[in-house]
Symmetry: C2
Subunit: 272 residues, 2 copies
């Protein structure tokens, strides 16, 4: 599988060329990230340390997982200072969950969608509907058994900051996605999806374009940012220290999109 | 981004090595597919025609989109012979949809999960919960404006047949995923997911394994087959004639899995 021949830069418009070959490379050399660290500088350095990525292409997409963004931004909570409400204590005791963590999940929610059988599905202030408000205890860092990460406060802004740092370091304006692992109704398991974007339109609206037979496609909106996040996860895995990957060749629709473009408003929600 | 150095074959067991570099290549030279065609032979030939794919590796995953599988298997319906029930006529008139297609959607369902605001979400006999029972009118073929595709009757068997054909043609037993595009609650747009598998365990259960800090991961089940299907879609696009892709380097959990492994039983369904 030879590397693709060099392509001209993407036009930067709304109609991407079709690709045909996509490469996903985990960035090398990212160690432990702590509060106050500059994630943009860290991943920009990691891009330079990973063989074969420079020069960057304008259709590259950098995917950075939520965990290091949250840790760098200090979006963490030490459970030792959390006093769970009675509802959190009862739910934790019934379902063998840490009541302090249940408390944080409820604090991070603007709406509880489901809270049963040990599962809490909430809506966050960002508008995400997901398990546990995105509160996560895994891979937080050594010796931090009582610390959980929260979602970044403004993941689009997190992505924009990383994008700026990469552009300043390497001279190319690439798209950035902050990703996290979400469950789904009706299917087991988690998949990585986008929770923040910069420099990419996260949904590519093909409605009105002809399909391969010249028939108008009626309802094809590709959630391309989610697919790119999932592709990145394949190179990252869950237990290794690989928190970021570069996706090359996906021909993303460039533009100043927001993660809000990917979120269904309540008025269209058939599963409230 | 040079091609990865040759790796030894995957061990074929349940504990995949971590990757770090994933490549997705759309297969070249697949033309129009018609009822009775041998999809396995077609994609095996396309693998040989696509530069750089041979020799195959035992950790390769071939992703074949539902459309050509359904067409080859004759899982299509000519709407000109469909007499819609009154409910389908009423829904079609209210929401500007072809009542004959609504009728086929209802026939393909074992359960209607939601039927409102122009959207029909059903459960199929396979156990999939998705829009329109997977009935699709786009990219069916030239001059077939009244023909829709249905889901393959047994997508695992479809995948197994393709796997056998590839093994016989190229001597390597690779995993095969049949994919289709699904919408999701709460998020706009469709992503490709697995609807049939052969030679891969579609969910990789990491529960009980240590995370990077040695902490036991509590609830991490990766829907790796869905992520591979989404990665493949990035190389395929929606309007081009690229119905299959090879995914190399994802270190899939090999084994004799079934798509049923990926489907949540009704007893766990919080969104019936």
């Amino acid at each position: 599988m030879p590397p693709g021949a060099p392509r001209p830069p993407a036009p930067g418009g709304d109609a991407p060329e079709e690709g045909g070959c996509v490469e996903v490379v985990a960035l090398a050399g990212i160690g432990e990230v702590a509060a106050g660290d500059d994630v943009g500088a860290i991943v920009a350095a990691a891009i330079a340390m990973t063989p074969g990525l420079l020069p960057l292409r304008s259709d590259d997409v950098l995917v950075v997982t939520q965990k290091i963004v949250s840790k760098a931004e200090g979006a963490v909570m030490d459970l030792r200072g959390v006093d769970p409400r009675p509802e959190a204590v009862a739910f934790g005791e019934r379902w063998d969950r840490d009541p302090r963590q249940v408390e944080v999940v409820l604090r991070e929610a603007v709406r509880v969608v489901r809270m049963e059988r040990g599962v809490i599905v909430t809506e966050t202030r960002h508008g995400f509907v997901l398990a546990n408000s995105g509160v996560d205890a895994s891979n937080v860092g050594p010796g931090t058994g009582d610390v959980v990460t929260l979602l970044p406060r403004d993941p689009d802004a997190s992505a924009a900051g990383i994008r700026t740092a990469v552009r300043e370091a390497h001279g190319t304006d690439i798209a950035v996605i902050v990703s996290d692992s979400f469950g789904r109704p009706w299917r087991w398991g988690i998949v990585d999806v986008a929770i923040g974007v910069s420099g990419i339109v996260p949904v590519e609206d093909l409605r009105g374009l002809p399909d391969a037979d010249g028939r108008t496609m009626r309802s094809t909106i590709r959630a391309v940012a989610d697919e790119i996040a999932s592709a990145a996860e394949l190179a990252l895995g869950k237990s290794a220290r690989r928190p970021a990957a570069l996706v090359r060749g996906a021909m993303p629709p460039r533009g100043e999109g927001s993660i809000a473009d990917l979120l269904m408003p309540a008025s269209f929600d058939l599963f409230p």
